[in-house]
Symmetry: C2
Subunit: 223 residues, 2 copies
């Protein structure tokens, strides 16, 4: 079998290989796993729970991602941790999502249920948000689980996981606007946080970006 001799065979091989990556990104559940991994490394059970699927199915999907070389595995005791191979994969996810958003109307209407309503911080003012946070003119809170905050977060952000937020309201500097962010535009945590804060009388807005979007814009992260 002397494969790979004709131009056609060479080309077929090339596109086939790229399609392996495309195929890895062709399943909704796998995309959700990739987005979770953009937040940092997680073990299989965490991933399965967050994505709302069985541990076995999560394992199968992660295997696919591993075959496409998009994720790396690390065993620690009984737990197996997955992580993105590098930031390029996170960027690819962001590009794919943005491309889909810009094109598919159905996606936009579904997204409107998450982002819902106006006065979200448009993604563009990242730098001004950064300088306002630095000057202490507003409080940036990261409402994801602490483990994700610990791996990477926006500069000047403090960790206030959604499920602790209610009890920790007094930690917020009074009379100062709050900006909450979570895993990205598809994540519901920040939306819930903003609703909770609003009910408590706090002036709160949501930043749609998560760490992956932030980094894809070329903005710095803290660790």
């Amino acid at each position: 079998m002397d494969a790979m001799t004709t131009p056609r065979q060479i080309k077929d091989t090339l596109y086939q290989q790229v399609a392996r990556v495309g195929k890895a990104l062709s399943s909704p559940k796998r995309l959700e796993l990739v987005e979770l991994l953009c937040q940092g490394e997680m073990h299989v059970e965490q991933l399965a729970t967050e994505a709302g699927i069985s541990l076995k199915l999560a394992s199968a999907h992660l295997k696919e991602l591993r075959l496409a070389q998009l994720v790396a595995v690390r065993r620690e005791g009984r737990k197996v941790f997955y992580s993105l191979v590098d930031d390029q994969v996170a960027d690819l996810w962001v590009s794919l999502r943005v491309c889909a958003e810009n094109r598919l109307l159905e996606l936009r209407s579904a997204l409107s249920e998450v982002v819902s309503h106006p006065h979200e911080l448009s993604a563009l003012n990242g730098k001004s948000l950064l300088s306002q946070a630095r000057r202490g003119e507003l409080t940036v809170i990261d409402v994801r689980p602490v483990s994700e905050y610990a791996q990477a977060h926006l500069p000047y952000a403090r960790s206030m996981p959604l499920d602790e937020l209610r009890q920790r309201l007094d930690e917020l500097p009074p009379e100062r606007p709050v900006v909450a962010y979570c895993r990205g535009p598809f994540c519901l945590l920040a939306k819930d946080a903003v609703a909770l804060l609003a009910r408590a009388g706090v002036n709160a807005t949501r930043l749609e970006d998560g760490v992956a979007e932030w980094r894809a814009r070329g903005l710095p992260l803290a660790h």
Copy 2:
């Protein structure tokens, strides 16, 4: 049917929509069609011939791309022309390819048969190539079919399709190095052109970039 109420349902819808784009990019043949469309609009028969598939199959794949909103259709007489919806799609293709190249060893070894051997112009020196071409220190030739050159090409490039090259060797300024490019790293045209030129005693090198890669680098194109 009051779908789309629970958070889980909303999320599923979102990832499903993005997966539609991922799925469109999960087939080798569709990727090849996308790369061809990066060169400009083409009708179905052209696409089928270039990709080495039947007209029917090409039509079916193009339908998939249309459903994912990646391509647009235009009818002109009996011919149906397809084109990329916008440059963002071309950028996505380039990102996907680069991501795959950086990750999959098999792809790199297959690619080495196309790019083969050393002294290719590394992609990075695009700007210096541009200024050398402007000063007339080297001749840049576009060896793709004229129709593709006509839609977009590198600045200072002249059209010298591969199948006319042999007869038109005398058009090349003598004693000046030639740089040939084609549709991108996966395309064989420029490689063949360089081989042909070398046999004719011309100092020729290949530029791996095609117009999509060139534009994705933020460099200007001519029309």
